[in-house]
């Protein structure tokens, strides 16, 4: 048997001699720092969810009908009459939400340990492009079941483009292919969701990994293992503090995968709508352009950005400032490598100011999520029965917008003018277990 395998391997190797070195470069001879902690699971988990979305998505398209008349019914057909259709659909809908959970944590890891800093700026930029495409992908996927929130969500999000001066209205009609989200909109979103954006996403993921493997992974200490002492058990030239990705991190990521799948299975089998956060109540009613849902809000993963949009007032007769703020919030993240001028990467050895600013960023982001999801609009009257809800929500929301953007302003001033008092960074990586 072993002989058969080595014969096949030899046959392939003779005809494609580049494959084995490629496997070694990215797996058995990709040397990663040995001190990765729990925050380093989310990259491989994002890849896992991407594969889940593609595989379950393929099976969904086998029974989904791309038509404003049939889409809603076909989703219910999948939920009821297709063998295991409910499981495939819940895996896809839960996967979409968990994709954002994992990606948000992955991005936070990058900010916390300075993984975006030189020489990994390109890795970070490619990651931000993945995030942008992922948001477009999720938005269009959300429209496909053609429930009432699909319709109104699409209407609100697309109308954002209407704030662009001069061409806005024409642009909105061009995007929708109609005067309202309609059959034409559904069909083009299907095309983009199912083929165009996934292709771009896959390409960007390959580039993201290729760029990473070129410069090597960062680690929780932010120490450059490549500049440290050389020589480990496998290779005399490679960093002493690094270990081969395969088998060490493949088995470790397998454990993370098992843990993650257990949590995902709990949601899929016992709370697939997640209390209306993953699948919203209003989306179990078919799209109806005459009945507006009582609260139009986007999916939870867009709510922080949606809150920024809502909290920035219109002035000079245009509402475009909120739209600029919303996209600016994402653009600023992409520009982090040039905003943060600090030399020390990891939060472990950075100044107190950075730690506080990072906490402010996290709190503002989460609070904006609550504002965008309408939670504060419910909590304020419940806690303060006599308060004016709009005034207090705007005051709170705008404070949080300030917190979010303040992080970037503070970080630039703090690092550009040398206010940061860093701690000494160790020569070698540290292991904490």
């Amino acid at each position: 048997m072993a002989n058969v395998f080595s014969n096949i391997a030899g046959w392939v190797n003779e005809r494609a001699p580049g494959l084995a070195p490629m496997y070694r470069k990215h797996m058995t001879e990709y040397y990663a720092p040995k001190n990765f902690n729990i925050w380093y699971y989310f990259g491989s988990l994002a890849l896992l969810v991407l594969v889940n979305q593609i595989v379950t998505g393929i099976f969904l398209t086998m029974n989904y009908k791309t038509s404003a008349l049939e889409a809603f019914n076909s989703v219910e057909y999948i939920m009821r009459d297709v063998e295991w259709g409910w499981l495939i659909r819940y895996m896809h809908s839960t996967g979409a939400s968990l994709f954002f959970v994992v990606v948000f944590l992955h991005m936070f890891r990058g900010i916390m340990y300075g993984s975006f800093k030189r020489p990994r700026e390109l890795v970070w930029i490619l990651g931000m492009l993945i995030f942008l495409v992922l948001m477009a992908e999720a938005f269009m996927g959300y429209v496909l079941p053609w429930g009432n929130m699909s319709f109104w969500g699409a209407k609100v999000i697309i109308s954002l483009f209407g704030t662009i001066p001069f061409i806005g209205d024409a642009l909105v009609q061009w995007i929708m292919g109609d005067f309202l989200p309609a059959d034409a909109t559904l069909n083009r979103f299907f095309a983009l969701h199912v083929i165009a954006l996934p292709l771009v996403l896959l390409l960007l993921v390959v580039l993201h990994l290729a760029a990473l493997h070129e410069v090597g992974s960062n680690n929780p200490d932010g120490v450059d293992v490549k500049h440290g002492p050389k020589g480990n058990r496998w290779d005399a030239e490679k960093p002493a503090d690094a270990i081969p990705f395969h088998p060490y991190y493949t088995v470790k990521d397998l454990f993370g995968t098992g843990f993650f799948l257990t949590i995902a299975a709990f949601i899929i089998f016992f709370a697939p709508t997640f209390g209306g956060w993953f699948l919203e109540h209003d989306n179990f009613t078919p799209a109806n352009n005459l009945v507006t849902p009582s609260h139009i809000k986007p999916s939870w993963y867009f709510t922080p950005f949606y809150a920024i949009l809502r909290m920035i007032p219109s002035f000079f007769g245009t509402a475009i400032w909120g739209v600029i703020g919303m996209f600016g919030a994402i653009l600023l993240l992409a520009l982090l490598p040039w905003i943060d001028k600090g030399e020390v990467r990891s939060v472990r050895y950075r100044g107190l100011g950075f730690r506080i600013a990072l906490a402010v960023l996290v709190v503002s982001f989460l609070a904006l999520g609550l504002v965008g999801a309408g939670v504060t609009a419910e909590l304020i009257p419940a806690w303060f029965p006599h308060a004016d809800v709009t005034t207090w929500e705007n005051a709170f929301g705008r404070l949080m917008v300030l917190g979010y953007f303040g992080f970037f302003v503070f970080l630039w001033v703090y690092t550009r003018f040398g206010f940061e008092k860093t701690k000494p960074v160790p020569e070698r990586v540290t292991m904490h277990d």
Binding site: R80, W86, I243, V251, F274, H281
Partner: protein
């Protein structure tokens, strides 16, 4: 290693705790909990009986097939076709009400909605409270009003069971209509209030089932899936531990 295990457990607990408010949020505010249990087959059967006696005259379940009802509720084809099917539909066809849509518009002002997904769109608590909150109101076209869904077009079709409920109004502020303070049963029906709450709970349970027939299967399979994954995760942890021994020893 212990520290990492602790932090993993802490993360898991954190995620679990984070889900509690999300799950608690399921119903609407100010509604009494319906207390349904979709796995209770007897309750489902009673709910189905009520639905086909009182609701199907106007409301369809266009996503629910008679055959699926039979298999999920543990009833025979004959039982379903004689007791539930009044329209001559085939066993494999969905539950469609006999009421002509044009007449419905004329009688109630709007088409009675399809109820297949009502429990997912509005929540079981809404259905349960709505069915308990009808009161006589001569100012309405059909003579009924509802505190949970004011000015609903639907009459109280369960009045024989519940009896006649009337509203006790509070004091009206100047220029405003008096708010309903509470509802009182003035003419008793065939059921005691306790029995009627049970009956409406059964109906809500049945509609919870029709909104997601997979719920029955999903929860019973889910237990095994999670046990399997938890066991697999434990084995993967041991595997990882074994591989990483030399990394930890070497430093």
């Amino acid at each position: 290693m212990i520290k990492r295990a602790i932090s993993s457990i802490a993360l898991a607990l954190g995620l679990a705790v984070a889900t509690i408010p999300a799950l608690a949020n399921e119903g609407g505010e100010g509604l009494a909990p319906a207390g349904t249990n979709v796995a209770d087959r007897a309750s489902l059967q009673r709910g189905a009986k009520l639905f086909f006696n009182y609701c199907v005259g106007c409301h369809s379940l266009k996503y629910v097939r008679y055959s699926r009802l039979a298999s999920d509720l543990g009833l025979s084809e004959e039982e379903v076709m004689t007791n539930f099917n009044f329209t001559g539909a085939k066993f494999g066809e969905p539950v469609i009400s006999h009421m002509p849509a044009d007449d419905a518009k004329a009688w109630f002002g709007k088409d009675p909605p399809d109820l297949s997904l009502e429990a997912r769109a509005k929540g079981v608590d809404f259905i349960y409270n709505y069915l308990n909150s009808f009161y006589l109101d001569p100012s309405r076209p059909v003579g009924w009003n509802n505190t949970v869904f004011p000015n609903a077009s639907m009459p109280n079709v369960l009045w024989e069971l519940q009896g006649l409920q009337t509203a006790v109004h509070g004091e009206a502020a100047p220029g405003q209509e008096a708010a309903v303070e509470k509802l009182e049963i003035t003419t008793p029906g065939r059921m005691t209030p306790e029995q009627f709450r049970g009956a409406t709970r059964d109906l809500a349970t049945f509609l919870e089932y029709t909104a997601e027939p997979a719920a029955l299967e999903r929860q019973s399979i889910g237990v095994w899936v999670i046990l399997f994954l938890a066991g697999l995760t434990f084995l993967l942890y041991l595997l990882k531990h074994e591989y990483w021994k030399d990394v930890h020893d070497s430093h």
